[in-house]
Subunit: 341 residues, 3 copies
């Protein structure tokens, strides 16, 4: 169809990239943002950046800074240009930039403008994510296992854990060590719990506590792939419903905190790394269910130091489910190049 040909255009480099390093750089950045949700499509990246801007210019700047620094680090260290061109050196930096900014803010919804020291630290985290990318690629590459957002998670954790130790940093309100305690009761669930849980769940992939932002992001994914958009929204919805069935805290569900990891797991297992046939669909469903419980599980481990799970529940679940691939002939793996759109 004509529309498919048009959309295909956005998967190719931005016209003029071959001639102009400036245009090429813009392509790297937009595509890098899109790769957070597995989309090598510069229009997806552009729509997502717009979705972030709708919520917060602070995080818009943080996303750009992180994406630029992690990509530039890769270029300076002369990483394989085909990886850079695919935007694969941008997405971890993008999340590292927003993530540090988010957890060092007191008003996390729209964020606070960072100090110079914090901006430097965000840049350091983004640069470190490129080294972690290289290291994990070396460890996992031979097993056909992708690094996912692990470079973002590890680089951000390693630097964020240190912020208590310096008077130059002011940890945000969410960074508060405590002792885990059973959830005694919770507020009642409403239709808003389901709506916000689902769409903020998509937005929280980029730390955006905003349902409109989440909806625009889903559209950004839809621009590149119908299956992916369905998985993102469906994964987040399913996680929201399951968390309600098991009796999770309403405020956490409402903020999309059960949804964002599940959305990523659903995209990854549902059609991207495995063919979405009957076995594949059941396997993806299984992975989403596990991810729902891994968010509070990893959260408990980090409670005594007051640190956040980031997207580690998604990374851990998806790693386990992909590493197990050779053991399960019932599943049909798909090479990322053949991913369904």
């Amino acid at each position: 169809m004509a529309i498919d040909r048009t959309l295909e255009m956005f998967r190719s480099p931005i016209p003029g990239s071959e001639r102009s390093p400036a245009i090429r750089s813009v392509d790297w950045i937009l595509r890098g943002v899109g790769q957070v949700v597995f989309q090598g499509n510069w229009l997806t990246g552009l729509v997502i950046l717009a979705a972030i801007a709708v919520n917060s210019w602070v995080y818009f700047v943080a996303a750009l800074l992180g994406t630029i620094v992690s990509t530039a680090t890769a270029v300076l260290l002369r990483m394989d240009r085909s990886l850079v061109n695919a935007g694969l050196l941008g997405f971890n930096g993008c999340l590292a930039g927003i993530g540090l900014n988010f957890y060092m803010s007191n008003d996390v919804t729209i964020g606070e403008w960072p100090s110079v020291q914090l901006y430097l630290y965000m840049a350091l985290a983004a640069a470190l994510s490129t080294v972690v990318m290289g290291a994990l690629g070396s460890l996992l590459g031979s097993r056909g296992t992708p690094v996912l957002t692990a470079p973002f998670v590890f680089a951000t954790w390693l630097l964020m854990f240190a912020v208590y130790a310096f008077v130059g940093f002011e940890p945000g309100a969410l960074l508060a060590p405590g002792s885990p305690a059973p959830l005694g009761e919770t507020a009642g669930y409403t239709a808003e719990t389901v709506f916000n849980g689902t769409f903020k769940g998509v937005g929280e992939i980029f730390f955006q506590d905003n349902a409109v932002t989440g909806i625009i992001m889903a559209v950004g994914i839809l621009v590149n792939t119908r299956v992916g958009a369905l998985m993102a929204v469906g994964g987040s919805l399913l996680a929201t419903l399951l968390a309600m069935a098991a009796g999770a805290d309403e405020a956490a569900i409402n903020a999309g905190l059960f949804g964002f990891n599940a959305a990523l797991t659903a995209i990854a297992l549902g059609g991207f790394f495995f063919v979405l046939n009957r076995s594949g669909a059941l396997y993806a469903l299984f992975g989403v269910v596990v991810t729902v419980f891994l968010w509070p599980s990893i959260g408990v481990v980090l409670t005594p130091i007051g640190m956040p799970t980031l997207t580690f529940p998604f990374v851990l679940t998806t790693w386990l489910f992909i590493l197990a691939k050779p053991a399960f002939p019932a599943l049909t793996p798909v090479e990322p190049a053949d991913a369904t759109y």
Copy 2:
């Protein structure tokens, strides 16, 4: 000898397994239970199930449920049938089922009947253990290192850590976050400390706080291997004595908590993965000593979140001692197929 020929019978599939899927399934389950203590022998599994029933029907059901679900998951995902036939897809599920039931009970000795939600969760843990088995097999297989009970440990940890977060779950009395503190003093040791420490130590492999159950289990192992039974009891005894020499808490020793990991390490290193010559015996002894200290060590790490060590001290010690194999020509590795009986 006639008795050896008789015992050999129980290592083969239950007569009729070739014709009847029902009999084959029973063989998988019994053999799966036996594999917790490295015994691919359906009579061993049967004796162990009886030993559990002697202590608690709650845990008997949990053991069956876990073994069935993890095996069924493997069959659905079409795992290598020879692994399934050997019972290797059952033992982690068996422990995951009992383990979750145990730590979600207030009376842990005989356990409490789970809610429907908890039964579903136990099934999820057992199914997840099969995915973790596949994933770890992919990571460790090329290094000739067995997964041991790591799939049980990781699947159970990942789901158990999450239980605080849902009003639908009621964490048991043992799940209590705290701060580690030096042991100031302890009750005096008696002959009972040694007796219970040793035999409850065998029972605690399956979470059974019952010396008679432990003795029956040792008989279950003896049915398949004299060396293995000696190692199980001897490893638990040695750990008990060493814990007393170092001044551990009497109640913990008495409950067999120092024994169960050491019993497993002793079976694994003492004749199963290494030939039990002079070097091998010293190496196994070394491993048992290390395991004794790893139980409180891993326990301290988990104290701030109030979670249990499970059999991770055994897994970690045995992984280190087996991974190091190529570096130590003084030792003679043994292929599991040639394990001494």
Copy 3:
């Protein structure tokens, strides 16, 4: 030059090593001590032992004990003799011995003489470090990644975490579980902060809170390599200045706690594992900056159980930066055999 020929002598075995097992053993021990700072040079080891003795005979004995036991364990298990001859089976035991002694003392600066039980435990840790060395070598060897001081870190952590559980052990004053808290303010920095931070930073590699000891140790490295000595002192200085710029606790900087991991990272990345050209120098600088923040970062993770970071910040940073090597063609790896002196 004549001086270079003379220095070369100390890299070869001590004269008479071929004939006398006693001299050979002394060579193993001295070289083992030197390998803590990557120097296969028996004079370096001798100078470092003297530097320790200047500060504390307690730690001098602990260093000897640990080095002897880890080396003897390797000999008993018949490890590759060329590794033993290079001193590579001594350095982790050396640190394990001092480390346990240090953290089980109340006066950590000069240490307290251990009980018999603690001496046995130090020996166990040193022996275990040899097994961990074999295990990690098996995991990392195929990736051209060195084990660094990870065997010391893991063996010591595993056993030190257990000390709360036994009345036979008295944890030292520094082992105190707590909750992480933001650093509100700090004492003012002085020239002494810089001086002590830098030279105690070198001394703290061996747990010596003594600037003179640190200076002698730097001389010990200088005996083998000008670049290495420059990196050790320069890395520690840079870490000290950066910690001051970011606003770290004066007492921690002054004690050299920001310096010791950075000194090791600087030696490793600055000329030892990568050629020290322009890219290599920037990469080493990047690694040192990351290490500075990893010391408090790992420290926060261990705060709830009151345990120390040891040299894990160095190990983790250097592993990441070396594992990423194949991804970064801008860097020129160097085989240890060709390390610059």
